[in-house]
Symmetry: C5
Subunit: 351 residues, 5 copies
């Protein structure tokens, strides 16, 4: 649930050093989509210099950089688009918390993609650099993103994304990320419901463990989702006028989704607490009932067993053994013992 990709001595580097802590062997993939309302072009290039042979005036351009472990490529892009060294440092350092920052030449948003890999919840850092005409996205992990539906809409000129400018595309990308959180949340919800059912039927320590695990996942998820509120608010009150009035309305919708997710996460955490507590108190109640029975039975029989033990001794000289009614007397004594204990227990309201 946490990545071990940190370079231990990164802390000794001067601020603004572009040294990636993402690890990968694959080659960085650069995808360029240029479009306006009437035009669409899509291209994948691996040679970084290929990217810059022409300026695409009059179009909106989305440059998607898949993989951030190659510092050279990042630096070249940075130089081309006048990106501040601190921004580039944050792009390649995958420990950022979601945030939105204004620079003179551009704005930048850092987000976390969440996905399950082998049933383990993982994060991938997504950085989005916004200028008036360019959207540059950097993805930590090569391959796999929630943007295929957007690409399809761009290709087929469906929805508003081709008509509106780069700002709407930026919104659409972030909206896709937020929507992908709903899918994770549905998965957690499914698990919690399943655990709830199991707890009702046949509770095992395994389920309790998994409930706690689910709560940790929600904690993990919250860390990525909660700071997005500020991110979206900062985007909305953006003074650079990057976002048109039309996109602002969509942004409000986005904020609403973010709040819904955060509330759901908190809600599920409370529900899990409720489940664990309910189960624990139920178990404790049952346990107490069982212990009471053990106590009562033990308390009745232990003295009786002692009494019969006494007369099982083999001493030569035990006068009681040779009386005629001794045996019946002992039974009487034992019955009296039981009755007094019964009386005592009833008085104490233990039975």
């Amino acid at each position: 649930m946490k990545k071990k990709s940190k370079i231990k001595n990164q802390y000794y580097l001067p601020p603004g050093s572009i040294v990636s802590n993402a690890i990968s062997n694959a080659e960085t993939k650069i995808e360029i989509i240029s479009f306006n309302e009437d035009f669409f072009e899509e291209k994948v290039c691996k040679n970084i210099d290929e990217l810059f042979f022409e300026d695409r005036i009059g179009f909106n351009t989305w440059i998607n950089v898949d993989g951030i472990h190659n510092n050279e490529i990042i630096e070249k892009i940075g130089k081309k688009f006048n990106i501040h060294y601190l921004t580039l440092e944050d792009v390649v350092n995958v420990d950022q918390r979601p945030k939105y920052e204004n620079y003179d030449a551009y704005n930048v948003a850092f987000l976390k993609l969440l996905f399950y890999e082998n049933d383990i919840l993982k994060t991938e850092q997504l950085s989005i650099i916004l200028t008036e005409k360019y959207i540059i996205t950097f993805q930590e992990i090569i391959g796999g993103d929630p943007f295929n539906a957007i690409r399809e809409r761009l290709r087929q000129a469906k929805g508003r994304v081709r008509k509106c400018g780069a700002d709407y595309l930026a919104y659409a990308l972030i909206d896709a990320v937020v929507d992908s959180y709903f899918i994770i949340l549905d998965e957690v919800e499914r698990k919690v419901d399943e655990f709830d059912l199991k707890l009702q039927e046949a509770p095992t320590p395994e389920i309790l463990k998994q409930l706690h695990h689910a709560r940790r996942e929600l904690l993990f998820m919250r860390k990525s989702v909660a700071p997005m509120r500020e991110l979206i608010l900062n985007m909305s009150r953006d003074d650079d006028k990057l976002f048109t009035q039309t996109t602002q309305i969509y942004m409000r919708d986005l904020l609403d989704h973010q709040i819904r997710i955060t509330e759901s996460i908190d809600n599920y955490r409370e529900i899990i607490s409720e489940m664990v507590e309910s189960y624990m108190s139920g178990t404790s109640f049952k346990m107490n009932e069982i212990m009471k029975v053990l106590t009562v039975i033990s308390t009745f029989f232990i003295p009786l067993t002692f009494i019969v033990g006494v007369y099982g001794m083999n001493f030569d000289n035990m006068p009681e053994l040779h009386t005629k009614y001794g045996y019946y007397f002992i039974w009487l004594a034992m019955i009296i013992t039981v009755l007094s204990l019964l009386y005592y227990f009833r008085k104490k309201e233990w039975l």
Copy 2:
């Protein structure tokens, strides 16, 4: 306590897609009430086109759409009244949190109706679109709403609702929703009181379970009720002047009711916690008392039983068995054992 009506791949749709996640086989029912101070007309139509044959100038009109699973009907209404696609998307997607949003042509409020079905607390989404002369309400579930008293008052020209405009009707509808929360709360209160009584008399794990269940219901209820505060505040500070000065005073009353409900929910949650905790600590105390008795009795008799066991052995050569006072000696030894244990326990303050 949660609906499973989500369409799993809804998240991949572009923003503003009107695809309902409410499920129903019944036919959508559209109810139109036109009124002013002197006039009242009520009509139910199932053919959607029927709705639009005439413009009702000079009247206030309440259009109540019962059922939101028919996307075609929703879209037609949307087109007629110039409703933004994002609004329509929210109307048909029943996972909204209560909110109030301003658009140019209209304002819209999303609320949750709460009701018990087979003793399970459920929600139904209610969307209210407000324009100067029209109130359009969309109800998720066909049949059953808390508005019959309002309809009756409209028919009989009782109360202020016929005299005041559409804004007062909108207030009255939301007030009816809030009042329906009080009924749910009374039911929860009744249950909690019943559990309290039962806990005093004869606690069972079943009651504990139901207490935890009640707390989850309150959590569930809170999720629907708490965001209404912001909703009502947004309505009150509405800049579009939809609400007259007169209605504003009622709005303040509404806010007061909302706060009372929220505080009551929080209060009951604390009371239930208190009850569970009180019960648990009482049980734990009793348990400890019982355990102490078991311990003491066991601790006294276990050594004694061992002693008598020794002299129940059948060895040929056991000299003690053949002494004259051996039996009496053993009794003495046992009494001394008991007394020393008694002394030890007293010293430790365990008795």
Copy 3:
């Protein structure tokens, strides 16, 4: 600790309906006190119309209505003083939370009186309507209020209450209510101290139960006291200039008292938690000590009892029984068993 006087279908009434949910058989008592610096007149009338035969210009008048179950009387008073229907609805509905509201013709404060009846903490709703010259108070329960000292001071022209205007009287009434909270708090404090002492001496589950009960009382009290903060603040920043500069200084004192009570309530709740927790952890510690002794004694004697049981069997063919030193051997075996267990326990640090 909660009243059952709710009319279940009150929620279906239109807003502003004056239907009381206070229950009483007694007759409403109306008390009128007119005063200025030089003049004092006191009158009790039961006929409602009697109230209105003369206008009392030049005097301050306090009309105290004891009992709010007679809707007719309330409505008449409302008409006479131009009181809004929503206010009258709140006056007769005893579930209000403390609040202060401004209307054009008057301001109104809703408060809760707290008192013990048969050792049960109960609330009574007090509504205070303030105009420049009139103070109208409505008390839910007939008979018994904390205002006798104020009446006495009015009669005897003691203190500032005769010299100052109606606004000071309003302050004095609310101050008397707040002072009555201190008395309740002292009672709770006395109880908590008593429980603390008892817990030290001889804890019983009964005391734990009463501690939890006291905490619920504090919760109940908090619900009535906490919202008064806003009430007093609203009174202080009153724009209608009902309160003179002189009274404002007293208001600040009032706020200070309210804060002191709220802090004390929270403090006592924390102290009770501390007491319960301290007691529980102490008990748990003692329990563990006792259990350890049981465990050790059981663990020592259970194997020994088995050994002697073996040689108590009556098989014909048990060669050990007939050896000369068999009995002594068995003792040796038992001593070795005890010593090994002792060694094991010591190694595990259980003894």
Copy 4:
């Protein structure tokens, strides 16, 4: 940890009644220190009228009233310095929370002195009335205050206190109070450290009790310290220009100390919680280990003891007893029983 000096019917008095709830038999001591940069005079008088024979123009004067149970003296001072009745009421009523109030003629600060008496943490109320040239302090308990160092510095003209005006003296007094909190905190810290050590070595229920006691002391301390934040802030933003620019800088330092103390109190409360929890979970773990051993031993030997009991019965007709290998068979049966239990336990991972 709380004083019982309340006069029960004080609540029925009109606001502004000067009736002290401090109890003392000793005589009130009045101490007057007049000083400026070049002059110093110190005088103790017991006759209250002596105080007023001369006006001390050109000097700063500190009047320290030790003991507030003599209402007559308080009233005389109040009349002399034009102190509002509400202020005097608060001065003699020792239940004030720390606060700072502005009046026309003066400002007033109420503080709590904390000290240990017989190992019990107690509070003493200190009221400081500030005018431009006079500082009047009222101390609840006669004798003992943390101001001796200040008196010494005044006498010896050390530090800034002689050079600066009355405002700096007021600051110095409050600073001395805050410094005295550090001493209490050091004492608590010393205790907590001692308990921590003891818990590591040999935990007893006594230590747990004292930890809970320390947490209650911190709660008690917090109640006196936390509201001082607002007090100091109010002093700093004082509009009456009582405090010079120079003293303002010292005030910021004072605020910093107050925050440090509050943070330390909260920190220690968390540390104690941590200690209690750590200890409890450790104990619980050990307990479980011990219980497991008891369970295993009992579970093994209880069935065996039953078996040997069977063949200890004295029935005439028990054929097994007379077979040749019956005894060895029984041993075999017992070994098989043990082995199956062992297998079962291993399978369940209990051993």
Copy 5:
């Protein structure tokens, strides 16, 4: 985890007394680095007067004072640079919380360095005095700081630190401190992961203890880190224009790091709670299972053992013993007993 270097009677000193509570035998080391873009000079002097023989106009100068126990040196520096007595007092008193204060002649920041010494987390106070051209740092402990990378960059003119002014150096120093927190956090993270693994495999009370210890370390760390937020914000909104526009952008980055650390600390504290709780509930579940087995076995065998005990008694007159089928009858009785208990347990759902 806490230093004992307090001088107990420091509280009785007048405000602004420069008496260090840092303890050391080593000699104070003063290090002077003068630089501008083209020039670099580094010098270590032990004689305090050596420091002041020349004014270094045109350069930025960093004076690093290693050791603050020598009051004479501190006072001399204070006099030279016009530092307020309250600042000097705070510099030598190592109990400051992180803060940033503005004075006329300079600004000052107090920070805490965190480091592990013999596996114990310790703090060292760092005070940074900023003027336009001078940076003066005071370190509590002689030797060891996280600034070697900065010194190296200064020497080799690497990074921006030589080009930018004293303000950037101040930023760089604080950034190095914050980066050193990340290293501590990584260590804690490593430990928590290790404990998590161990808890899964073989939980011991030792691990629980260390988890609680780690949580206390995080608490300790939080105390040093959390107040830095305000410190950095105060630096950013500095009105004295000490920080250039360029450095402001870096400051924003610094704030972001601080937030990340604080969130991580809170996150780890929650994760540890989750781990402890998960482990405890798992253990409790297992315990209950074991107890149930003990209870069942005891409850079955205790009555049986009593029965066989009865017929092991040696009374002369026990008729049952001499009947022909008595022995078989007893077996029957015992089987019936077991079956009834079995039925009872099944009915109660305990098996």
